[in-house]
Amino acid sequence: MSIWEYANPVKFMRSSGIALPWVVAGAALCTVTGLIWGFLTPEDYKQGATVKIIFIHVPAALMAINCWLMMLVASLIWLVRRHHVSALAAKAAAPVGAVMTLIALITGAIWGQPMWGTWWEWDPRLTSFLILFLFYLGYIALWQAVEDPDSAADLTGVLCLVGSVFALLSRYAVNFWNQGLHQGASLSVAPGERMSAVYRYPLYLTMLGFFLLFLALLLIRTRTEIRIRRVAALQAREARQ
C-alpha cells in the first residue's frame, strides 16, 4: 500500500468522498470559532480595533503562498509520474490560491489605510504578492487557452516550474529595490518580537481553519474536475457510436 494508489481516480474519488464532510466540518468549526474568538479579543494599545483584521489577513497570505507550493509539487508529480489526479489538483488549486492572494491584498489595503495612511505602498511584501497574483492569472489563463487537456497540463506544469523560480527571484529583487513598510513575521519565535498570547492562539486556530478550508475547496474542485473529465469521456464515447 503506497500513497501512489490514491493517484487512481476511482480510489481518489472514494476516499476523498469519505474525507470531504469531515474536512468541511473541521474547516467551518475552526474558521468560525477562530474568527469569533479573534473578534472578541481586546483592542491593541497601538492599533486599536483594526488589529483584528489579522485573523483573516495572515492566514490568507499564508495559504496564498502554500497553494502555489502545492501546485508546484502537483505539477512535478504530473510531469514525472503522469498521474492525472495530480494535474487536475493543480488546476483546481489555482483559482483558490488566486482568491487567497486577492483576500490578502484587499485586507492588507483595508488594514494599511488607517495604520499607514495609505491604501497601497510599493513595499517588497505587497509588491511581490501583486506579482504572485499576476502569476496565478497567467497560470489560470493558460489552462483555459489550451484545448487538449494533456497538453494543457504539461504546459501549465512547465510554466509553474519556471514561474516558481521567477516568483522567488522577484521576491528578492523587490526586496533589493525598495525598503519595506510592512512589519516582520507575525509569528516570530524570538522573545520580545512575539505577539502576545491573547492574539496568538486565535490566530493559530484561524490558520488551521484556513488550511482546512483550502483543503476542502481543493477536494471539491478536484472532484468536480474529475467528473467533468468523465462526462467528456462519456460524451466522446457516445459520439463515436
Binding site: 506579482i131 499576476l134 502569476f135 487557452a145 504546459l155 523560480v165 529583487a173
Partner: protein
C-alpha cells in the same frame, strides 16, 4: 546552427520583418512620455531610467510572437524539431537571433533616446551596459513564452500576460543600475545581479522552452 541563425536574421531583415518596428515603437514611447508627464527636465531625468527600461521591455515584447509563430505556420518548426541539432540549441539560436534584431539595436540606439529624456550624461554608459547585459534575458524569457503559446489562437495577449511577470527581476535590476549610475552611486551590485539573471535564463530557459515546444508539436 549558424545556418539557422543566418536564416532567421535574413527573415527578420527582409520582407517586412519588423526589424525597425521595435526601434520605432521605442521612439514613440519615449516621445509620448514627455507629453504625459510634462516637459520639465528634472522630472524627466529622474524617471528616465525606468521609462527607458520599460520602453525597451515593451518593444521587445512586441516582436516575441515572431520567434516561433511564422515557423509553426509554414511547418518549418516541425523540421527543426526533427533536425539533427537538439531542439534546445535551436531555441537558443532563435532567441539569439531575436536579440540581435531587437535587443542589440535598442542598446545601440538607447543613448539617443536617453538624450530625449534628459538622462544625465554620466548615466549613459550604465544605460548601454545594463541594456547590453539585460536584454538577452528578455529575449530568452520571451522565447519561453512564445514556445508555450505557439499553437494557440489569440496567443498574443496570453503571451504578454505570461511573460511580463517573468520580466520583473530583469526590469528592477536593469533600471536600478541606470538609476544608481545617474545619482553617482555604485551601480555594480545591481549590474552583477542582472548578469546573474541573464546567465540563469541562458542556461535554463532553452530546456524549458524546448520542452514546451515538444508538447505543442505533439
Amino acid at each position: 546552427m549558424i545556418a539557422l541563425l543566418l536564416r532567421d536574421l535574413k527573415l527578420a531583415t527582409r520582407a517586412g520583418g519588423g526589424f525597425g518596428l521595435g526601434l520605432a515603437f521605442f521612439l514613440i514611447v519615449c516621445t509620448l512620455v514627455p507629453f504625459g508627464v510634462g516637459p520639465e527636465g528634472e522630472i524627466l531625468a529622474r524617471i528616465a531610467p525606468g521609462i527607458l527600461w520599460v520602453g525597451a521591455l515593451l518593444s521587445c515584447l512586441l516582436s516575441l510572437d515572431r520567434i516561433f509563430a511564422l515557423d509553426h505556420e509554414d511547418g518549418s518548426l516541425d523540421l527543426l524539431a526533427t533536425a539533427p541539432i537538439p531542439l534546445e540549441g535551436a531555441v537558443a539560436v532563435k532567441a539569439l537571433a531575436h536579440w540581435l534584431t531587437t535587443g542589440l539595436p535598442l542598446t545601440v540606439a538607447a543613448p539617443v533616446f536617453g538624450v530625449l529624456l534628459h538622462l544625465p550624461p554620466e548615466a549613459m554608459l550604465w544605460l548601454v551596459v545594463s541594456l547590453l547585459i539585460g536584454t538577452p534575458a528578455l529575449s530568452m524569457l520571451g522565447a519561453f513564452g512564445a514556445a508555450i503559446t505557439v499553437g494557440l489562437r489569440r496567443g498574443g495577449l496570453l503571451l504578454s500576460l505570461l511573460v511580463l511577470p517573468l520580466y520583473v527581476p530583469t526590469l528592477i535590476f536593469g533600471a536600478e543600475t541606470v538609476r544608481a549610475g545617474s545619482s553617482a552611486l555604485d551601480p555594480t551590485t545591481p549590474l552583477v545581479f542582472l548578469a546573474a539573471i541573464t546567465l540563469l535564463t541562458g542556461g535554463l530557459i532553452p530546456f524549458a522552452a524546448a520542452a514546451a515546444l515538444r508538447i505543442n508539436l505533439r
